[in-house]
């Protein structure tokens, strides 16, 4: 998790008040606290007095169950319940279903400096949307020196040394109708621990530098259909010089991989040389990737045919050897 990311309760409220239908019940001055992590918690057991393993550093959500429990308590018991819970540092409290806070709650929250919100949403809806927002906010990110292009719906991350021609390939792909996500600086975010999402920098957007031309705005030149805001990164294409190619896979049976933010992606190392059309190769890569997703692998198919042919021949050979005629 990226510990450098700081989310204050104020920022959370400003960004999500509409989406989560939040009303602030506390003094607006009390929004300085930090939300340190993405998980949520329902403090039922903590209110009942069991404080072991109480994950107090999460946003605390009071649903119908908690409120109905609190209402069942006497004023003194209720006060005691909140004194215990507020004794630990809590980022903020959210009451769902437009429930009203129980009497001593606001007074004790104000004393402890805990902001309290009320939401019109049900607990389940709130959990869903709030988790989504916090997941996004706390998702680990990494900046890559690369270009990201959506080629026939596959997100290709073009990497390689500076000056090797990543931008030129990206421009060529755009020219052929594919869509640029970002050039030069790609911000990769790991979403839901399963996928990698790539996007550009807000300031650079779809600007591109082509050596000899300078800075170009791809969206202005090619139009809105030539760009997109974000795209899942599905494949890494590393451009390298022919002399530095190392060992190149000739069949496609051995898929190399590379790791970004702990997730493995297929890696294709493409040696470049004059006369080699990297753009067409990138398009073919994307299409072949689709074929594989649909269950057809060209190299495996050819090998299957080959093995069958050889097996037939071998059977014939051993039959003829044993045949006295």
């Amino acid at each position: 998790m990226d510990s450098s990311k700081q989310l204050s309760v104020r920022q959370f409220f400003e960004e999500e008040a509409g989406e989560l239908r939040l009303t602030l019940l506390s003094d607006p001055m009390e929004l300085g606290r930090e939300i340190p992590q993405k998980n949520l918690h329902r403090p039922g057991l903590a209110l009942a007095g069991y404080l072991e393993l109480f994950t107090h550093d999460r946003i605390q959500v009071l649903g119908n169950t908690e409120i109905s429990y609190l209402r069942s308590l006497s004023a003194d018991q209720c006060r005691l319940a909140f004194e215990r819970v507020f004794g630990l540092e809590i980022p903020c409290l959210v009451i769902t279903n437009s429930n009203e806070p129980v009497p001593p709650m606001m007074e004790l929250a104000a004393a402890a400096g805990v902001p309290v919100f009320q939401s019109e949403l049900s607990t389940t809806e709130l959990y869903h949307l709030l988790s989504d927002y916090l997941d996004d906010f706390f998702a680990p990110t990494e900046t890559r020196h690369a270009s990201l292009v959506d080629v026939y719906g596959t997100g290709l991350l073009l990497t390689g040394k500076s000056g090797i021609g990543k931008s030129e390939v990206a421009l060529d792909l755009v020219e052929r109708g594919h869509r640029l996500v970002a050039d030069d600086v790609v911000i990769v975010t790991r979403k839901a621990d399963r996928i990698l999402m790539g996007q550009g920098n807000d300031l650079l957007q779809h600007m591109m530098e082509i050596r000899g031309l300078g800075i170009l705005d791809v969206r202005q030149i090619y139009g809105i259909h030539a760009v997109r805001m974000q795209k899942r990164v599905e494949m890494i294409v590393e451009l390298c010089l022919w002399e530095e190619r190392g060992s190149i896979d000739r069949t496609g049976l051995d898929q190399e991989t590379a790791t970004i933010l702990g997730l493995e992606l297929p890696l294709i190392r493409l040696p470049i040389f004059p006369g080699k059309n990297i753009t067409v190769i990138c398009e073919t890569l994307a299409l072949n990737h689709h074929l594989k997703v649909y269950g057809y692998d060209s190299s495996q198919e050819l090998n299957r045919r080959l093995l069958k042919t050889m097996e037939d021949r071998r059977r014939l050979r051993s039959y003829l050897r044993r045949d006295p005629e």
């Binding site: 069949t251 190299s299 050889m310 050979r317």
Partner: protein, 87 residues
């Protein structure tokens, strides 16, 4: 310079053995061809090698010419003897 070798591994020269052959051949400057059943293919071409469909028990003729030809044939002979690292 030629050498005749027999394919001994059970599955014959399928994609993986073919890849080994082509990788070794590509490291040499020498021209390299494989002859089988009247086909003469460039031994540095993966599809060419696959096309031969050289099954277990068949023999292939390797032809190498130029810089490093002997070393290339020695290395490939070893590869055939090692049954392409298969059974």
């Amino acid at each position: 310079m030629t050498r005749e070798l027999q394919v001994e591994n059970e599955l014959g020269i399928h994609a993986r053995p073919a890849q080994h052959i082509v990788k070794i051949a590509s490291r040499y400057k020498a021209d390299f061809f494989i002859v089988k059943d009247g086909h003469r293919i460039n031994g540095k071409s993966i599809l060419g090698v696959l096309m031969l469909a050289a099954e277990q028990g068949s023999t292939v003729l390797l032809e190498a010419d130029g810089e490093g030809a002997t070393d290339l044939l020695d290395e490939l002979e070893q590869l055939f003897q090692d049954r392409f690292y298969e059974s």
